[in-house]
């Protein structure tokens, strides 16, 4: 029997802070969501967060957002450049790279498989 099946079957109590919630699903799928937002147009960090809120998702704190951006940039999925603000300070703007598009396609496939499998259970 697979480990995950056992854990669910046995009703393992969640360790504090591990409860499943929309916020937790969102955290787990954050790279997919961020790349998807950047596919439509380049954005700065707060702009990505705002786009997710506009879509009805939970606001992302800076503590989650910026480390995720650093990781995506280190993986070559996004690139960053500074852009002068019209009425404020200059902002770092992120855009999707060719590698990022490939990564996004892979993540979307994985997500579709997950949703299809989950919807057969739920």
């Amino acid at each position: 029997m697979a480990r995950a099946e056992c854990a669910v079957g046995l009703g393992l109590a969640p360790v504090e802070g591990r409860g499943v919630s929309t916020a937790a699903w969102q955290r787990a799928s954050l790279p997919l969501l961020m790349l998807r937002v950047l596919r439509s147009s380049p954005r700065h960090g707060y702009g990505i967060s705002q786009a997710l809120v506009d879509a009805g998702l939970h606001p992302i704190t800076g503590a989650q957002l910026y480390p995720a951006l650093v990781k995506l940039e280190a993986d070559g999925a996004i690139s960053a450049g500074w852009e002068e603000g019209a009425s404020g300070p200059a902002r770092k703007v992120y855009s999707l790279t060719a590698r990022g598009r490939e990564r996004l396609a892979d993540l979307e496939d994985e997500w579709q498989s997950f949703v299809a499998a989950a919807s057969r259970v739920v």
């Binding site: 029997m1 480990r3 056992c6 854990a7 046995l10 393992l12 109590a13 360790v15 504090e16 591990r18 700065h44 960090g45 707060y46 705002q50 704190t61 800076g62 503590a63 910026y66 480390p67 650093v70 990781k71 280190a74 993986d75 603000g85 404020g88 300070p89 200059a90 902002r91 770092k92």
Partner: protein, 335 residues
């Protein structure tokens, strides 16, 4: 009520392997205890071996570290989290050399030795240098690179002083003769033991939460540099956060958490920082065995077998550490 649930005999090796893997700085002892209790409950309920139920203990431990570990816990448990941990490290660093020192003294001078001002000054300089190294580590963990630089200068000055004292031809005044060697060893252990005792008596303190914006940014920038970013890269990160914060009305602490923990998250995957951390960390790991090797080879006034022993230990230690450092090179995954 006492919890009488214990791991079945057949699962103890599995439990030990899991515990070995999950015991990492980013996972608190309380979290590990709760998780072990959860796993034990599952094993007892299922009535099948833990190996069959959960699979490879190392793989499960790695998953749990990724899921349960936090950068905040690393900072809270680091040597730089406060006086308690810094004193603990300093005490250990002062106590560790006592045993080899005693063995060397007993072999070279017997049960009684002569104490001179030179030998005491030399030992004092070395002890203070070891204490400085502990403080350097604590300041580094706390994300304070300026303090690290200042303490490195102090440690180098103490090392130079120790070498200068050792090379003085005049033995300086004799302070006492026929002092029992074991008594000298006990005396040398007093400072380290006192620091350990003080550390145990100090209470655990939670991470600081009251940060003004300026304090938070200053510490965050310093911690980024301490974690391997250049000044320019650190300034750029700060600039980015400041620009993003224009639209956010929460404090920096509420938005990003503890500045040192957040700096860890921001530099964990940054390629330049990873490489610099590898170079500095690797150098620190090979420098002590290299010094031991040189000391063994260059100390012409010692017996040949002692030189061989010291040099041999240094050489083996150097090779093992060099292999370990090379194995952890950041670009290994890409090869």
């Amino acid at each position: 009520m006492v919890d009488e649930r214990i791991w079945p005999e057949r699962d103890r090796p599995w439990q030990a392997a899991y515990l070995w893997g999950v015991t990492q700085p980013e996972v608190s002892a309380e979290t590990i205890a709760a998780r072990l209790d959860e796993l034990l409950g599952a094993v007892l309920e299922a009535g099948v071996p833990a190996e069959e139920l959960f699979g490879d203990p190392a793989a499960l431990a790695a998953d749990d570290v990724a899921e349960l570990g936090t950068a905040e816990e690393i900072v809270r448990s680091s040597f730089g989290s406060g006086a308690k941990q810094t004193l603990l490290l300093t005490g250990v660093m002062l106590l560790v050399p006592i045993l080899p020192l005693m063995i060397v003294l007993l072999i070279s001078s017997g049960w009684e030795i002569e104490l001179t001002a030179r030998s005491l000054t030399f030992s004092g300089c070395l002890a203070l240098m070891l204490a400085s190294c502990a403080v350097i580590r604590a300041l580094h963990d706390a994300g304070l690179p300026k303090g690290v630089g200042a303490m490195i200068a102090v440690a180098v000055a103490l090392l130079v002083a120790a070498v200068a004292v050792a090379m003085t031809p005049d033995p300086l005044p004799r302070l006492a003769r026929d002092v029992p060697t074991l008594f000298v060893g006990l005396g040398a252990a007093v400072p380290g033991a006192a620091l350990l005792l003080t550390s145990f008596l100090l209470p655990e303190k939670p991470l600081r939460e009251d940060w003004s914006e300026e304090q938070w940014v200053r510490r965050f920038r310093a911690a980024l540099i301490s974690r391997g970013l250049s000044r320019q890269q650190a300034a750029e990160r700060v600039r980015e956060l400041r620009a993003g914060r224009v639209a956010v009305d929460r404090s920096a602490f509420a938005e990003y958490g503890h500045p040192v923990a957040f700096a860890r998250k921001m530099t964990e995957h940054a390629p330049a920082a990873k490489k610099r951390r590898w170079v500095v960390g690797g150098a620190a790991e090979v420098v002590v065995p290299a010094l031991l090797l040189v000391f063994g080879a260059a100390s012409t006034d010692m017996w040949w077998w002692m030189r061989l022993l010291i040099g041999g230990v240094g050489a083996v230690w150097l090779v093992l550490n060099a292999r370990s450092v090379w194995g952890s090179r950041p670009w290994k995954a890409a090869e």
